[in-house]
């Protein structure tokens, strides 16, 4: 039993890394733009389909294919922000939920038209390759996915904390109006943040597509998980998203093997509620006081 629990915990950390990557874009977009991008799950699924097509049609390894898909989705993200989000001048927070939901439905519809409703999976030659640690086998594909996520999240961290543009992003996250007052082009920052969010979704989508069968409707479950992660981590906190994703997956996977899969989601929500009672702003969220 000890080996099994340890195995589940390792699996939780590895898959948690992937969810952290997928959620990082969501929390970044919220932090900068104060909007909830409920289309993030659909963008992950879009990333999975792109990886699938590159492999199936042109035999491009899905990890290498990210060199094509992440820049493409970054550009698409910038364009979507300019066309659909920026024009929302009033009641932006509420309307953006509808706009991004429409975006999700649009992506689902296009994918459904192109690929049908069949489940797909990115089947790479190394997806059953493993190496032995202690008494159990660790799948190489999970480790590769985790390494990719760590690399991208580290890159994102460097961008945010060591560059001038990163400082502009963080300033916008802290106080959008004040950032604008000191001369930061928050519209530009927003567009780029939205693009980065989409690029991380594409990267997460590839790992998701290798480890999970997916179809155009798979985004509904994904977005509910991603939203839960960023609420636990604290809305707008990259570090919070990473920690929350790891907590979520480890708690669920260990509960699934220790007690029952039926209790896995419940156990996580117990943790979520306990954290929110103690820290309503989430693990790393900022407490905002509003004068009324």
């Amino acid at each position: 039993m000890t080996t099994l629990v340890l195995e589940a915990a390792v699996l939780g950390v590895l898959t948690g890394g992937v969810y952290a990557l997928m959620a990082s874009g969501l929390t970044l977009i919220f932090g900068v733009m104060r909007i909830i991008n409920v289309g993030q799950g659909a963008l992950v699924v879009l990333g999975a389909y792109l990886g699938f097509v590159l492999l199936r049609q042109w035999h491009v390894d899905p990890f290498l294919g990210l060199l094509l898909t992440t820049p493409a989705l970054f550009v698409l993200g910038v364009a979507l922000e300019v066309v659909f989000i920026r024009p929302l001048r009033t009641d932006r927070e509420s309307l953006s939920v509808l706009v991004t939901y429409a975006l999700a439905l649009g992506i689902e519809g296009v994918l459904g038209y192109l690929f049908g409703a069949d489940y797909r999976q990115i089947s790479v030659w190394y997806d059953t390759a493993t190496f032995q640690v202690g008494g159990f086998h660790v799948a190489v594909v999970y480790v590769l996915g985790f390494a990719l996520c760590v690399a991208i999240l580290a890159g994102l961290g460097l961008l945010l904390y060591t560059t001038t543009f990163g400082a502009a992003i963080r300033a916008t996250m802290l106080n959008r109006a004040a950032a604008q007052l000191i001369g930061i082009d928050v519209e530009r920052v927003s567009a780029i943040a939205f693009g980065i969010g989409m690029a991380t979704a594409a990267a997460g989508g590839v790992v998701f597509g290798i480890t999970t069968a997916f179809n155009p409707g798979s985004h509904y479950d994904l977005i509910s998980r991603l939203l839960t992660i960023i609420v636990l981590g604290g809305l707008g906190s990259l570090r919070g998203a990473i920690v929350a994703a790891l907590v979520m997956l480890v708690v669920q996977d260990v509960t699934a093997v220790l007690l029952s899969p039926t209790w896995a989601a419940f156990a996580f929500f117990v943790v979520l509620v306990a954290v929110l009672v103690a820290r309503p702003q989430g693990l790393y969220g900022l407490r905002v006081r509003e004068r009324i």
Binding site: L4, E7, Y119, D127, T128, F136, N215, S260
Partner: protein, 401 residues
């Protein structure tokens, strides 16, 4: 007064629906058959196959002149695998669209609420995929499950075969994991009871929510049990995930059966690297090379219209096609599409389908039994019982490549 008027209109519409849905003699209008199919959500793969099977039958019967001299056309509406939407869909099909007949959706989960609506309006409800016990224990006489055996007995061939092995060959232990789905869970409960009675010790059993997307922890626990036989209540995503995790963990049970997934041909094997599916079993009521009524024609028509190879045809499509065959024969006997007469007709007689001959009891349950299919050499072949087997079962299951 206003309330009374609205109620009056509602009652008229409600009572009018079955009246519109009967007879059929003398009209040259096409016969419209309403079906809710799952084109999104959990059952989207199966829903699409169902739509294909229904449409192929419509093309086929129309080429023969239709039903009672009228062409057949389907009105498909998408329920997105939702139990709420499926109710709305059948309500609309019957009261707004006034379809002549209704055929069933995919899964017991959707068939249960859908058949209640059809029954309320007096519609016969032949259906291809709702065979869970609860479908038949609600006292409805309008629902007919068009598969060879009730779902609860789907694994009967498997347990019979395992227990028929020589004692020194027979598995000593078994692990069970299933979705909490009315299609899969009753099958596993029955199989476990039969195997335990036959002396096979249960070393692991778990039920997981149908919404689960990360199956790896459950698969790890099954692999850790080191059971000789593994019995899984699955659909495609979990069927694939279990096999992949077993391969990663180098876990080779002597026997592995999944209730659904391996029967989906290429949809299953193309998700597993190198088609490494040798020895995986699945219960089935249909296979492409069966010498059953209309099967050659069905397979030819399917390949001509949708491409691929015979091994990639989903059993769901064959089951949907069978619904059409059963109704065609019943209508042929009564020369009417009146739903009350059709219900009476379906309760008697034997019907020839691509899944073989079948008849229905007073609850609409079929009285046959399904058989056992195994992946061998990159394709599925029936292996048990001997009457339908084209190859002996590979036992123990070969180790993963």
């Amino acid at each position: 007064m206003r309330t009374t008027s609205v109620l009056g209109v509602a009652v008229m519409l409600t009572l009018g629906a079955p009246a519109c849905a009967g007879g059929g003699g003398g009209s040259s209008q096409p016969i419209t058959i309403g079906v809710s199919v799952s084109l999104d959500g959990d059952f989207s793969g199966d829903g699409k196959a169902l739509e294909q099977g229904y449409q192929l039958w419509a093309d086929d019967v129309n080429a023969r002149g239709g039903l009672v001299g009228r062409k057949v056309r389907f009105k498909f509406v998408n329920d997105a695998s939702s139990t709420q939407q499926v109710v709305t869909n059948y309500q609309n099909l019957i009261t707004r669209d006034h379809v002549d007949l209704t055929f069933g959706p995919f899964s017991s989960l959707l068939t249960i609420p859908a058949s209640s609506i059809a029954s309320r309006y007096g519609y016969a409800f032949p259906e291809p995929a709702g065979g869970g016990p609860h479908v038949f224990d609600r006292g409805l006489r309008d629902v007919f499950f068009v598969q060879p055996a009730p779902v609860v007995d789907n694994l009967a061939s498997y347990t019979r075969w395992l227990l028929s092995l020589a004692p020194d060959q027979r598995p000593r232990s078994a692990a069970y994991a299933t979705e909490d789905d009315p299609f899969t869970q009753p099958q596993l409960d029955r199989a476990r009871a039969l195997l335990e009675k036959g002396g096979v010790q249960t070393v692991y059993t778990k039920v997981y929510p149908a919404e689960t997307t990360d199956f790896t922890p459950i698969a790890l626990a099954v692999a850790q049990s080191r059971a000789d036989a593994v019995v899984l209540g699955t659909m495609i995503p979990d069927a694939v995930a279990f096999v992949q995790t077993f391969q990663q963990q180098r876990f080779n049970p002597r026997s592995l059966i999944e209730t659904s997934g391996p029967d989906q041909g290429g949809q299953f094997s193309d998700k597993i690297t190198g088609g490494n599916t040798e020895g995986v079993m699945v219960p089935a009521g249909w296979w492409p090379s069966a010498k059953t009524s209309g099967n050659d024609r069905f397979v030819r028509a399917f390949l001509a219209r949708y491409g691929g190879d015979a091994g990639s045809i989903s059993a769901d499509a064959a089951e949907a096609y069978s619904v059409g065959q059963v109704v065609e024969q019943a209508v042929g006997r009564i020369h009417s599409i009146d739903n009350a007469q059709l219900t009476d007709a379906l309760h008697s007689g034997t019907y020839q389908t691509v899944q073989g001959a079948m008849a229905f009891d007073s609850k609409g349950q079929p009285n046959g039994s399904s058989f056992l299919v195994q992946w061998q050499g990159g394709q599925t072949v029936p292996v048990y019982p001997a009457a339908v087997a084209v190859a002996p079962p590979e036992y123990p299951k070969p180790a993963w490549r």
